[in-house]
């Protein structure tokens, strides 16, 4: 029997970001402090991408960096803040100067919009948003949501449009080179989101041998069929967290929050940690190995 050759979808972070044209629509993975594609955000800033349109449920420093660096001009989302710390500082200023627009949905609505896109249906019904300004008010998506009477029961139901972004960007714990991605802990909306995009780029803490994935196929959340590119990216969510790998760095998160309250502070942060370093490895070196080691998950806790 001939062993089938395993397709190799590995590319570098730099190559992955080059694939994204200005103006592209992205599904943005991670939820809250968990598994945000932080390294990808940094590289989008380094390459000077413009006018991206991001779809996500709830994101934090990652989207604030993208707004600060004027990489993203449109968001469709449900939530952004630095939980437990405060409001996203850069987005506040970008909303005021008109360079960022936000279309608001709920977390369930966004997750269902991704599921709808992945399922190939044009909309999804939902029992949220009814009776509120989330339906009545919009920024740029005129057909943001519609209330109809159910053709079967007559009850009111809200319809939200499905999304098929150009790319889905997710950061996970493990993937093999043909793109079978495994997530430990909560998935957030990343399963549906990864499958909604026309192309999916999976970043991972580790690229593991396919045999390891196939010994535990029930842990695979995003099978290879959905995945176009794979990027090995250790510490790719720092300063946020990856379950079973590392905890968040509260000191750095606070530094970000405090410093980015002013435009000058943000510019200094961006220069020091993003544009002033060559790549993700140089960023990690700047943070320093001692700091990173302290954040490693302590078994059996996963954080």
């Amino acid at each position: 029997m001939v062993e089938p050759e395993i397709e190799d979808k590995r590319i570098t972070l730099k190559e992955a970001v080059k694939l994204i044209p200005d103006g592209a629509e992205l599904f943005w993975g991670g939820f809250g402090f968990q598994r945000p594609p932080m390294a990808f955000a940094h590289e989008l800033v380094r390459r000077g991408k413009r006018n991206l349109h991001i779809y996500t449920c709830g994101s934090e420093i990652d989207v604030d960096i993208l707004a600060g660096a004027r990489v993203v001009s449109k968001f469709e989302l449900a939530f952004f803040a630095i939980e437990g710390i405060g409001l996203c500082p850069n987005i506040q200023r970008r909303i005021k100067d008109g360079s960022v627009q936000i279309e608001d949905y709920t977390n369930l609505a966004m997750a269902l919009r991704f599921l709808g896109g992945a399922l190939g249906v044009p909309f999804m019904p939902i029992k949220s948003m009814l009776g509120t300004d989330l339906i009545r008010k919009y920024r740029f998506r005129k057909n943001k949501a519609k209330v109809i009477e159910c053709p079967f029961t007559g009850e009111k139901v809200c319809l939200v449009p499905s999304v098929r972004p150009d790319f889905s960007i997710v950061h996970v714990q493990r993937v093999d080179m043909e793109g079978n991605a495994q997530i430990d802990g909560v998935v957030g909306e990343d399963s549906e989101g990864a499958k909604a995009g026309k192309k999916a780029i999976v970043l991972a803490e580790e690229i593991v041998n396919s045999a390891m994935i196939r010994m535990k196929p029930d842990s695979t959340v995003i099978p290879n069929i959905y995945v176009d590119y794979v990027v090995e990216c250790p510490w790719g969510s720092y300063p946020m967290m990856v379950y079973n790998y590392y905890d968040y760095d509260l000191g750095h998160i606070r530094l970000y929050y405090t410093q980015c309250k002013t435009e000058e502070g943000w510019e200094k942060y961006c220069e020091e940690y993003i544009t002033g370093v060559e790549n993700h490895m140089e960023f990690l070196k700047k943070i320093g190995i001692e700091r990173l080691i302290k954040l490693r998950a302590k078994k059996p806790f996963g954080y």
Binding site: G32, L87, T106, L130, T132, V186
Partner: protein, 265 residues
């Protein structure tokens, strides 16, 4: 609980009072949907006192969580500890919540109106906002579909408004029958807990009414800090103060006083 020993004014903070009020409104065996902050403390306290069989759900996907360390984020890895399951948003907000399996949901508010409608999106005019707040997150989903809602928020006049700057989440909308008319599944807000008092909703009008004032707080103080016509019954009881046992457990859960506040009130 017999032989309860109540703490005196000055021995606890207003945040501790609020967490205790929240915990007392969770019944044993209930499915409880909470966020981080005081609601998380309330649910953890309830589980360690009168409601050990309560099941705590966090929207990122943690189901029947039994965290021993306080979490900063709703998706914090700490919430996975001793959980029954770690799944995702469609599981928690969709199948569990919209599916009708959540008994009580806890939410916060930047502004609330007399029908319990909530704003967590914009302060100021929608076209020219002064502050952009975090948005709905799962808040609108929770208020839409949980069987009942407890609101926990700090008490300032600018937060209790006649008209919201933006209606993120539905309370009782414009009065009795409105939620049903709009197709909403859940029962809506039943209780509002602040650092001054507890408020409920008038059966007939679905407008906010004062239920109890916390020890040391006067009815006038509450009325002065509400921007709409608060319904004040003739007799307003004092809120049952925290017990020493409740305070001991709360301080064990939040030893760094991340959410409990530093000042004693």
């Amino acid at each position: 609980m017999s032989g309860k020993e109540y703490a005196k004014i000055g021995e606890y903070t207003s945040f501790e009072m609020m967490a205790v009020c929240g915990a007392r409104n969770i019944k044993n065996g209930e499915v409880v949907f909470v966020g981080t902050g005081l609601p998380m403390l309330a649910a953890m306290l309830a589980k360690r006192t009168h409601a050990p069989k309560a099941k705590i759900v966090y929207e990122a996907g943690f189901i029947d969580s039994n965290a021993i360390d306080l979490a900063l984020s709703i998706a914090d890895s700490r919430l996975a500890y001793n959980a029954a399951a770690a799944i995702g948003l469609i599981e928690t907000l969709g199948l569990l919540l919209q599916g009708g399996r959540v008994d009580v949901g806890f939410v916060g508010a930047a502004q609330i109106d007399e029908y319990g409608n909530i704003n967590t999106t914009y302060i100021g005019d929608f076209e020219n906002p002064i502050v952009r707040l975090p948005g709905s997150g799962g808040g609108n989903d929770i208020i839409s579909s949980a069987k009942r809602i407890v609101v926990i928020m700090t008490h300032q006049k600018r937060k209790f408004v006649k008209k919201l700057d933006y209606m993120t989440s539905p309370g009782h909308l414009d009065g009795p029958g409105a939620r049903k008319r709009e197709g909403l599944l859940g029962g809506g807000p039943e209780l509002v807990i602040t650092n001054l008092c507890q408020m409920g909703f008038d059966e007939e009008t679905k407008r906010i009414k004062l239920l109890s004032v916390h020890p040391g707080v006067t009815v006038e103080q509450v009325v002065e800090n509400v921007g709409f016509d608060l319904i004040v019954p003739e007799h307003v009881p004092e809120t049952e103060p925290p017990t020493y046992e409740e305070l001991r457990i709360l301080r064990e859960i939040d030893p760094q006083r991340l959410y409990l506040g530093k000042e004693k009130k």
